[in-house]
Symmetry: C2
Subunit: 116 residues, 2 copies
């Protein structure tokens, strides 16, 4: 996205939530603030590097807030900003759709690996 403007609002959403784990992070934070380690366990399969990289980007973009308790050993929490919460509320219907169509989508993805 080198362009400044989006011709479809969709592109704006993707500019913020594009990234393998970002929607998942926002989704998990919708139920309350979490520590880094908690997120690492919740977002299954995410590597430490990617989690932290995405957390940093989401923080920079104003979607989440980083709360550093200034302790040693470190104690850091993340939660959604207002902006982030407005995004999270968008994600809910997608989640429902995905849950409802879970089996169908799983079949589609499986077929893909066979045909190709």
């Amino acid at each position: 996205m080198t362009e400044k403007d989006f011709r479809c609002g969709l592109e704006a959403v993707l500019a913020i939530l594009g990234g393998k784990w970002k929607p998942l992070i926002v989704y998990h934070l919708a139920s309350g603030s979490k520590r880094t380690g908690q997120l690492r366990r919740l977002v299954t399969n995410v590597s430490e590097k990617m989690l932290i990289q995405h957390l940093k980007e989401l923080t920079d973009d104003g979607v989440i807030r980083r709360i550093d308790h200034q302790k040693v050993p470190p104690h850091v929490e993340y939660d959604l900003t207002e902006f982030g919460r407005s995004l999270a509320s968008l994600l809910a219907p997608l989640c429902e759709w995905g849950t409802y169509h879970n089996a169908e989508v799983a079949k589609i993805v499986k077929r893909r690996h066979q045909v190709m």
Copy 2:
């Protein structure tokens, strides 16, 4: 996504619509069937190769339908299946959010390029 199952419905949605231009394609088809060339002009900046590759994947996944009029020179149309239409209806609120937050997101993206 090597796993068969999704723990959040979100992952299912992304499994289908993951791809730079797929949401845009579905969005444009929501307003009626289109010919390949029309889509190429509507989805700005998409290369011919990516358009056709994504169209093929969406067709294989049952999101859109390819209608070949068996003419020479070729005349092919695409439109949404029922499944695709249910996805397109999810996209509408995202579009609205993006349109509403357009300026904000544009600012965020611009800032990103400066800071990094």
